[in-house]
Amino acid sequence: MKLEGSVIFEKASIEDTTSPQPIISVRNLTKVFGQNPEKALELHRKGRSKHEIYAETGSTLALNNVSFDVMPGETFVLMGLSGSGKSTLLRCINRLIDPTEGEILIDGEDIVGMGQEELRETRRRKLGMIFQNFALLPHRTVLDNVAFGLEIQGVPVEERQKKAEEILRMVGLGGYGGSMPGELSGGMKQRVGLARALTSDPDILLMDEAFSALDPLIRRDMQDELLDLQQRLVKTIIFVTHDLDEALKLGDRIALMKDGSIVQVGTPEEILTNPENAYVEKFVADVDLTRVLSASDVMRRPEPVARCTAGPRVALHLMEEHDIGSVFVVDRWRRLRGLVTLDDTLKAVQAGRGLEEIITTDVPTVALDTPLTDIISVIAGSRYPVAVVDDENRLQGLIFRGTILAALARKGEDINATA
């Protein structure tokens, strides 16, 4: 697939890969923990707060009329402070927790109304889960842990072990099949957890604070790994986290939760640039590095670029090699001339024209010290990556849509660590 911009990998935008049918559709979901849900709901309708309801009935209103849709292939992040209901919501989706009211459609079927047999079948085929504390079975080898889902489905031992080995290799743990979970580091354990969820090839992955128990460096690796896997496997992921950086890095869309309600749903850019209310704003402000960071902090090496003296065939070759839809063009002194697109270059090759004639000069550029807030709005309005240039218009780096957020999350950790 060709994407615009000289970018080797941009996550395929959702519209490209999917039909418009949501794969998960949560409708008016409410969950009350405790003896008397009716009473709690009645008090809630009368406008009492979560605390007042708890004081009066001893019941907790953990989810309050939550609705949202998730599209196939989307990574949907549930974010919020501890106790805001994220885990409860996630566990309602595979019905580890039975909702009090509402429905959850998975591929159009309401899991809330399913009988035990149907529920088991749906959990086996469609829903994988990854746990905060890894939850590996301590008495089983890594391989048998990874094969667990298939074992439950009654797949013969050789077949399931073969599949499990394959998946273990995919998560970089080939050769560890015979180890016991207790012998592995945290990061490795969670790779096993990931592998276990992937082995039965579910469409949906439910991840509850999956990386929160890992130390920061390992955590970042796992995030990158997940992005990488997601690019290859294109699962629908619901990812719970209390960490904004992680949410920004991983999420196609983020739902911010507070006291059992969703207060805002949006893309990372929308959440950052347009916090809907004071709660979100505060959440964002806590970690808002967009004002602190500038282009030079987040840009990548300017590769590949085409010299304007090179012919269109060279440019074409570069684009094909890197599987990109356009490439930036510089002159002998690395000054930015503009950009050529794949289409134009193909035509130029056929018509025997030079590269100079097809350069688009209308490309977004920013200076090295442009703050991130401004870059986000530039990049949002552009089909191409943003070029970073110095005072003399020399190309210094490139900024892509996806990596800006990754960089944001990364720098956040560094700054927090050094602060």
Binding site: R91, N94, L96, L119, R120, E121, T122, R123, R124, L127, G128, M129, F131, Q132, N133, F134, A135, L137, P138, H139, R140, F148, G149, E151, I152, Q153, M180, P181, G182, S200, L206
Partner: protein, 280 residues
Amino acid sequence: MQLPKLPLGDAVEALVDWIEQYFGWLLDAVSAGLGFLIGGLQGLLLAIPAPVLILLAAVLVWFVTRRDIKLAGLTALGLLLIWDLQLWNLAMLTLALVLVSTIVALAISIPLGIAAAGSDAINAALRPVLDFMQTMPSFVYLIPAVIFFGLGNVPGTIATVVFAMPPALRLTNLGIRQVPTELVEVADAFGSTPRQKLFKVQLPVALPTIMAGVNQCIMLALSMTVIASMIGAGGLGYQVLVGIQRVDIGMGFEAGLAIVIIAIILDRITQNLVPQYENR
């Protein structure tokens, strides 16, 4: 002033008569079954020449303790001592009594423990019964055993079973309830049936705790051997009892030592039978 005495004793006697009349066949069947098991196991143990059995026991200990050669050696030495003291036949009867009592006790208590872990109602119903059983002095169990089964090895075994059951039941229940929530969620999230959840997750994860219950069950059964001999159970316990009655210190000591040796060996074996895994 003296209150009129309630005819409690008469009532109990009537109840016992009634049970014997209508469930006599059941009592007979239990008696015959247990007698057969005890006799059979004892016969089997005695059919193996003592030196061979001693070697087998040492190898077993060596194997389950993951090659603890010292413990294996001590096992062999201890059993040799029992043989040398000419207590071998009695020891094999004691072993047969203890093993049969333990197996019967576990066959009842582990399923009940699983049921109690799965249902708060069953758990609530069983708890007072267990408390009652555990606060009773062990002598008390002798009375119904004698009433329904007379004297001998069988009533001794019955009393031992009742006495040895509670910890295994409690620890099975506890072990399953203590399985981390996330692990139970793993079973559910991957679509296990209740049966798969029990056998693939709950029981294996609870196994170390359940084995602690098995261990306690065996130790209680052994501790009951002397007491059970008061209603005619044979073996080393009876030897101790006779030693006490005749004030024969030497005889009582030798038999008592043999019991301790068997206890230590059984303890080491059961403690090491399942490996302990790190639970995260």
